[in-house]
């Protein structure tokens, strides 16, 4: 429908342009601006801004939403210069592998300079969304003071701040609608002045979404209850483990209009001991009263005996995240999941096992996204009966399944082929076979052919993560068939530079490539240097790229920042042929950054590269 609208708008624009050409008179700017307001996608807006100078001007003045995929690709100054009136800013910082501790502490991604600049240039800023960035309490305070109409703060996998910063947001952002701390690391400062939640003023009622699931600290239940009670528009509430499960009923009764709920912790709840029977029926009643509830998460340490309290809402659920529910085993998982016939998204631990996935495939025909996480990722032997079969079952039974993240311990080419044929509509396929370089367990061959089938059959595949035993051959397949591939993650794979070359030369839409522990070296990188400017970023760690190659690349490609991340010390203290630890290359229009820590080297760093 959106596409249709865009088409209509585009046609309209073409007409206007035609009229302008024919009639020689200019169209009132206000009209154009109004038309442009229907165009939201960045790509489309970028396109219309290239039509002519006046359209460029109108577009840039009317752009309200800006997304910066790499905070070092552009600077605040450049951004503000081009777009003077931005209301929603979204920034991403560290590379994805930072999630797995591959990016050393202090690497960068500080948002403070951005907010500093925005506080002066964008007083009307309403939304800030950050991912993998470092934000300080002072900056949070600055946000709360600078933007009078501030509405949305989403901090996804961020760090660097504490409950003190949250208190400032709570106290001063009168129009705040969303506070979402998803998976961030928040320090708890245990303020003596009171819990940060109680800093929301008594007359503050505009909260729509609150996600504090990642908070490790105590939460004042009274403050929470009051807050929930006085905000009639509250739709999303994701609690942290400090909120006991049995008190959930109180909150649910205050906010029966909730659409998304994340429960707290339930470990003290034991239905068979001395917990009064009231608790169960209380919770059951409270859940039954939530007629709008569509998404559930949390479930830390819930005793399986309490699961039935959510049964009344299961048929309405579209999203279920049980990936923290370490106390719920297969049979209870099956019982729960099989009641959620309208489920579209399921995140679960591998306790669900093959049997559970089979059941899921039979019951949840609307399933679109499945993520199966390992319960014991560091165990040497399997602790659950989860194999490739589970994934095959789901691929067979769920016609709308298009996004998969699957951790398992064995895989076969045959299974991958089957999955590929079953689900040609797959768009995101991330498979992690826990032991690196694991071959096809049936034939002991590499899994090249299996993944090859995936890229060949799934023509709309945008994201792919590889694992298992893989040779250069799989990269040939990817380069040949992965034409729509935008993000590729590779680990412990390949034989030679040829592998990397296949990917860089073949995948036309590649934006992000992250590689670790592969024998890829200089040749492929240098041969495809130009490709790197068409991508957002390339990460390579524990590979065989020499420092000399990095220098050369930095020299030849001025639009790239070639960052050598090496904690062993200055790279020029070692021979140039010595491979670098980690390499992060990204395109940028703002040149080398000025906040690099001691272990990062780029071409303009005198000490290391010694270039003129």
């Amino acid at each position: 429908m959106c596409l249709c609208l865009c088409c209509v708008v585009f046609i309209f624009l073409i007409l206007i342009f035609y009229m302008k050409m024919m009639m020689g008179s200019s169209f009132p700017e206000e009209v154009l601006e109004h038309v442009f307001s229907f165009i939201e996608r960045d790509r489309d807006r970028n396109a219309i801004s290239t039509v002519c100078q006046s359209w460029y001007e109108i577009e840039r003045w009317s752009r309200r939403r800006v997304f910066v995929g790499n905070c070092y690709a552009v600077s605040p100054v450049i951004l503000i210069k081009r777009f003077p009136d931005v209301r929603c800013l979204e920034l991403k910082g560290k590379p994805h592998f930072a999630d797995f501790n591959l990016v050393p502490e202090g690497w960068g991604a500080y948002v403070d300079p951005w907010i500093e600049a925005a506080s002066k240039a964008y007083p009307g800023l309403e939304e800030i969304r950050l991912k993998r960035m470092v934000i300080s309490d002072d900056t949070l305070k600055l946000i709360s003071k600078s933007f009078k109409n501030f509405k949305v703060l989403v901090l996804s996998s961020c760090e660097g701040f504490s409950t003190k910063g949250l208190a400032a947001i709570a106290a001063d952002c009168r129009n705040l609608r969303e506070l979402d701390l998803r998976e961030s690391e928040v320090e708890d400062l245990n303020q003596s002045s009171g819990h940060w939640l109680s800093r929301f003023p008594d007359n503050y009622t505009s909260l729509v979404s609150l996600n504090i699931a990642c908070l490790n600290s105590e939460v004042s239940f009274t403050a929470l209850e009051c807050l929930v009670g006085r905000c009639p528009n509250l739709r999303t509430l994701r609690l942290n483990r400090a909120v006991p499960f049995d008190r959930l009923a109180i909150l649910l009764r205050r906010a029966p209009q909730l659409v998304e709920l994340g429960t707290g912790e339930a470990s003290d709840l034991r239905p068979d001991v001395f917990s009064p029977p009231d608790v169960f029926s209380n919770l059951l009643g409270a859940f039954s009263g939530c007629k709008e509830l569509k998404s559930l998460s949390g479930f830390w340490d819930v005793a399986p005996g309490y699961l039935p309290v959510v049964y009344p809402i299961c048929p309405r659920l579209t999203s279920l995240n049980l990936s923290y529910a370490a106390t719920i085993q297969s049979s209870d998982l099956i019982k729960l999941a099989s009641q959620c016939q309208n489920l579209q998204k399921l995140w679960v631990l591998d306790y669900i096992e093959d049997l559970g996935l089979e059941e899921l495939a039979a019951s949840c025909k609307d399933l679109r996204e499945l993520r199966v996480f390992p319960s014991e990722p560091f165990g040497a032997e399997p602790n659950v009966l989860l194999t490739e079969q589970g994934l095959v079952s789901v691929s067979e039974g769920c016609p709308k399944l298009h996004s998969v993240l699957y951790f398992c311990r064995q895989m076969s080419n045959e299974a991958l082929r089957t999955i590929a044929r079953n689900r040609p509509n797959m768009t995101r396929f991330r498979l992690c076979i826990i032991e690196p370089r694991t071959p096809d367990y049936l034939t002991l061959e590499p899994l090249d052919v299996g993944f090859g089938a995936i890229v060949e059959h799934c023509k709309d595949l945008r994201r792919l993560s590889l694992s298992g035993l893989l040779t250069d051959r799989v990269f040939k397949y990817i380069g040949t068939y992965g034409k729509k591939l935008e993000m590729l993650s590779v680990a412990f794979a390949g034989d030679s530079d040829l592998g990397l070359h296949h990917v860089l030369s073949g995948c036309e839409n590649l934006r992000k490539l992250e590689i670790r522990d592969c024998p890829f070296g200089d040749k492929a990188l240098l041969a495809n240097a130009a490709k790197l400017e068409t991508m957002r970023s390339l990460w390579m760690s524990s590979c065989s790229v020499s420092f000399g190659a990095c220098k050369l690349l930095g020299q030849k490609m001025p639009m790239l920042n070639v960052e050598v991340i090496d904690e062993r010390g200055p790279p020029d203290s070692r021979p140039e042929s010595c491979p670098v630890e980690k390499l992060y290359i990204y395109r940028t229009v703002s040149g080398p950054r000025f906040d690099m820590p001691g272990f990062v080297w780029t071409k303009d760093k005198d000490s290391a590269l010694g270039l003129s």
């Binding site: 502490e105 483990r241 001395f274 005793a303 990722p377 560091f378 165990g379 062993r568 491979p579």
Partner: protein
């Protein structure tokens, strides 16, 4: 602060991988007595067991770096700023790979990101922060690890990450293989330890609880088979938990509590007084008195909130009504009103 290495490592390994972002001090090769902590990952690369973490290059010849020099440098590396500053400035030009092993994932206790060029001093400052943090460890091993931090179940047990694999195969856990790899399997930190609690509550996990994910033994699955209640003891700031379902008589419970707090107090005796709230000197007296039966009194709080003397009712009735336990010194009984009273509700 000295590092307490061998026992804490083993204990932590039993408890499973500690959670969240923590100090992952990954160091060298076999033979390193100290500071052998690894991210709890196992991998057999090419069928061969790796004995140390492989963050850096795949090339095998790079591993020659583990010269004596590097090793010696690491042996000195305790969680002090001083040591860090000593290590860092000298390390850059020497052994090639050693600091690659020195990964620091710390909680952001001191994280003040600066948009300016960050030099080594800030790294060492972060290390000193981690040093302090490393004192805080989670769980029932707190006392044994001579950690006085009150937040026993700290959300940031920045102690060296539990290793499911070490440089030397000193673990006997059947599930865990050797050879950890950084960042593999690719799961977020907060997913690594799903079984264990990773948020701050006053009472730590009971030693009776089965180990959590990542360690050997069975997972704690059905809470119905356990009944954990908190137990505090006078003079001991950090409480414990006992599983009442393990015992079937008062005698066995009494003995278990004896053992529980005997260990705790013994460990505390060695503790530096700086972080402790209570007098260290009394610990010895308490320990001694513990072993003489009758020198302490066990009371409990029932489901109606009343404090009762343990032993009056039949065991099964006791189990069905008890909510928490407390060990009082006999001398305190006279000063204590045992029945519920609103004004004097000292925490049990």
């Amino acid at each position: 602060m000295e590092k307490k290495e061998s026992d804490p490592i083993k204990n932590e390994r039993r408890n499973g991988i500690s959670e969240e972002k923590k100090l992952e001090l990954r160091l060298g090769p076999p033979g390193e007595a100290q500071s052998i902590h690894y991210v709890g990952l196992n991998n057999k690369i090419n069928g061969a067991k790796r004995v140390w973490q492989e963050t850096v290059v795949a090339k095998k010849e790079e591993r020659k770096w583990l010269s004596k020099n590097a090793q010696n440098q690491y042996q000195d590396l305790s969680f002090t700023e001083k040591t860090v500053e000593r290590v860092f400035p000298t390390s850059w030009s020497s052994a090639s790979l050693h600091s690659s092993a020195f990964h620091m994932d710390t909680q952001k206790q001191n994280q003040q990101p600066k948009p300016t060029y960050i030099q080594y001093p800030s790294i060492s400052r972060r290390l000193s922060v981690m040093a302090e943090e490393s004192q805080q460890t989670c769980g029932c091993r707190v006392a044994e690890m001579q950690n006085s931090d009150k937040k026993a179940c700290s959300s940031r047990p920045a102690s060296a990450s539990v290793s499911t694999a070490t440089a030397e195969p000193i673990n006997s856990q059947k599930r865990i293989a050797v050879a950890p790899v950084v960042g593999w399997p690719p799961i977020r930190s907060f997913r690594k330890n799903l079984g264990s609690r990773n948020f701050s509550k006053p009472a730590p996990k009971s030693p009776n609880e089965t180990p959590k994910a990542g360690s050997d033994g069975e997972k704690l699955v059905n809470l119905e088979h356990h009944m954990f209640v908190k137990i505090n003891m006078d003079g001991v700031p950090i409480g414990r938990k006992v599983d009442l379902k393990v015992y079937d008589s008062y005698e066995k419970l009494s003995f278990a509590i004896d053992e529980l707090f005997g260990d705790l107090l013994a460990a505390q005796r060695d503790y530096s007084a700086a972080k402790k709230e209570n007098k260290v000197g009394d610990a010895k007296a308490i320990t001694d008195s513990l072993h003489d039966s009758g020198e302490y009194t066990l009371i409990y709080e029932d489901n109606e909130g009343d404090r009762m003397l343990v032993g009056d009712v039949p065991w099964h009735m006791f189990v069905s009504t008890v909510k928490r336990l407390r060990v009082l010194m006999s001398s305190e009984i006279s000063t204590l009103r045992l029945t519920t009273s609103q004004d004097e509700k000292t925490p049990l």
